[in-house]
């Protein structure tokens, strides 16, 4: 082989792919950013227009949402409360289950069990939410809930909570595992070397050490739950009410938006504007939850380094 010599000059001309790479990648990035700006812009413009008719104060404080009444009222609280109910309900189910599954997979399961569970988690994450919604409607409510509480309505919050919980379970598991993994393995050994049982080391040392990451996992999961549409539309129904019984139906922010998109609100009407105002609230909620989760995760990582 001939020596290449010491020259650092370019030996082969750059092909078009090489020259185009940067602008192509950049334009893709720009499209992503532009799409986000467009979404925020559309929401913003229509929301501001809506607030020209309905004051933001009334929108945020009034406890009735009756856009189709003769004297329509646009208080977002019932929708917001319904979203909160579904989100919290789903978390009540998914967080303990996900946390314990993650702890089991990280600290108890053998290699094979862990692999099976990881596969199951991935498959669960891949189930389309429309299917979870139908399972809630056609199985959870009639078979489980009605057996326990015969008076359960056909559309009810509880079945939606369970299905949404199932949907966010993989998120909780995956992020909790990664939080647990960021705790040095040596801490487990140190705990065992001090004559503690495995369960005690997990509960007193490892979970507390991973707590910021676990809390972040919960926020990321609840952001998904708050934005979930299909399951709540199918299983929780469309009754706008401040219903505190989980066995009754309710309507979340997302369910209202989904219903509005069916086209019964002509463009330019107040009802049309309401759709955007509710969307803006929803986006604010999910962004808030997501940003909190991301912030906590970034802080955990920074903490590791320092």
């Amino acid at each position: 082989m001939k020596a290449a010599g010491l020259s650092l000059k370019r030996r082969a001309p750059r092909g078009p792919g090489d020259r185009l790479a940067r602008p192509v990648f950049l334009s893709c990035a720009v499209v992503t950013a532009a799409a986000l700006v467009a979404v925020v812009g559309v929401l913003g413009v229509e929301t501001v227009r809506f607030f020209g008719t309905v004051s933001p104060g009334r929108f945020l404080t009034e406890a009735a949402w009756t856009p189709f009444a003769e004297e329509p009222r646009f208080g977002v609280l019932p929708l917001l409360a319904a979203t909160a109910q579904i989100t919290v309900g789903a978390a009540v189910f998914a967080v303990p289950a996900g946390l314990m599954t993650a702890v089991y997979m990280e600290h108890y399961a053998g290699v094979r069990t862990e692999r099976v569970l990881a596969g199951v988690t991935t498959m669960l994450a891949a189930v389309p939410t429309v299917i979870l919604g139908y399972v809630a409607l056609t199985f959870v409510t009639p078979v489980i809930l009605r057996t326990l509480w015969p008076g359960t309505e056909a559309f009810n919050a509880m079945s939606a909570c369970l299905a949404v919980g199932l949907m966010i379970l993989p998120t909780v598991i995956v992020f909790t595992r990664s939080a647990l993994r960021s705790v040095p393995r040596a801490l487990m050994e140190a705990g065992l070397a001090l004559g503690a049982g495995r369960g005690r080391v997990v509960a007193r040392v490892l979970v507390p050490a991973a707590l910021p990451g676990i809390v972040a996992a919960v926020f990321l999961a609840t952001a998904r739950a708050a934005g979930e549409t299909m399951i709540v539309t199918l299983a929780a129904g469309n009754q706008t009410q401040l219903a505190w019984s989980p066995l009754e139906g309710l309507r979340t922010l997302t369910a209202f938006i989904a219903q509005s998109s069916l086209g019964d609100a002509p463009s330019g009407t107040v009802r049309y504007g309401a759709f955007f105002a509710v969307s803006a609230v929803l986006v604010a909620v999910t962004w808030g939850l997501h940003a909190t989760g991301s912030f906590l995760i970034s802080r955990t990582r920074a903490g590791d380094a320092g």
Partner: protein, 258 residues
């Protein structure tokens, strides 16, 4: 634990007999036979990867926490087989305490770290007194007495390692396994730990894995030289250092093997 028939004085605190430990396909210890006399300091020296840590971990059944490990041969503690049917590894680890190379404090307060072991063992007495006692013994009391509630992670590296020793002392172990406790420390902190080890020898049997040949010479009564998982030489520290029988030991001691 089952009865010990032999007179206590003659039974070594720890005894490995033809001990072999494999991690998957890798042999970490190959047929090691050695006795640790009660109340003495035994140092284990040798190159990295020579089996020092594995030997220490065999003495309190820590190796079995690693998936895929196989152990053959026996380890006896006060004459009792550590792998006997009725032996509880948790109890083993309470009687044979271990301090790791890296300080492995829990992200909790100094106090919580010190009393972690006693709490786990359902300690009946006053935890505050116990904490003071072992912090004094570890030479840390005067530095932390005022702020036991401070996060342990805020201590200096040397203080952290002394806290790890205090935490292990709180178990009231008979044996201390110290796995290169000073390898991550500066000379000043190392000197403090060494004088601490020196003071602990009064009440404990100590096995000290160390990279420092001089540290072994300063602190121990007996020295074992481990390389490639084999026990090359074992004997009184002075004899081994001044007149090694094996050429490989001599090479290591004179610095020709790292």
């Amino acid at each position: 634990m089952s009865a010990v028939s032999a007179p206590r004085a003659e039974v070594p605190a720890l005894a490995a007999d033809d001990l072999t430990v494999r991690f998957g396909g890798r042999t970490a210890l190959a047929g090691v036979t050695l006795e640790v006399p009660r109340g003495r300091v035994v140092s284990v020296i040798g190159p990295s990867g020579g089996g020092k840590t594995t030997l220490l971990r065999a003495f309190n059944r820590m190796n079995e926490l690693v998936p895929g490990v196989t152990t053959t041969g026996t380890v006896r503690f006060n004459g009792v087989d550590l792998h006997g049917e009725e032996v509880d590894p948790v109890e083993v680890r309470r009687r044979i305490g271990m301090v790791f190379q890296q300080a492995t404090l829990f992200p909790r307060s100094i106090f919580d770290n010190v009393v972690f072991g006693p709490r786990a063992g359902g300690h009946a007495g006053e935890l505050q007194e116990l904490a003071e006692e072992v912090l004094v013994a570890a030479g840390l009391w005067s530095e932390v007495a005022e702020d036991l509630d401070r996060p342990a992670m805020e201590l200096s590296a040397g203080q952290q390692q002394r806290l790890c020793i205090a935490r292990t002392l709180a178990l009231k172990p008979e044996v201390l396994l110290l796995d290169e406790p000073t390898s991550a420390l500066d000379p000043a902190a190392t000197a403090r730990i060494e004088s601490l080890i020196h003071s602990l020898r009064r009440d404990h049997t100590i096995v000290l894995a160390t990279h420092g040949r001089r540290q072994a010479a300063r602190l121990s009564d007996f020295t074992a030289y481990l390389a490639g998982g084999e026990l090359i030489e074992y004997g009184p520290t002075e004899a081994l250092f001044t007149n090694p029988r094996d050429r490989r030991t001599e090479s290591y001691l004179t610095g020709r093997i790292e």
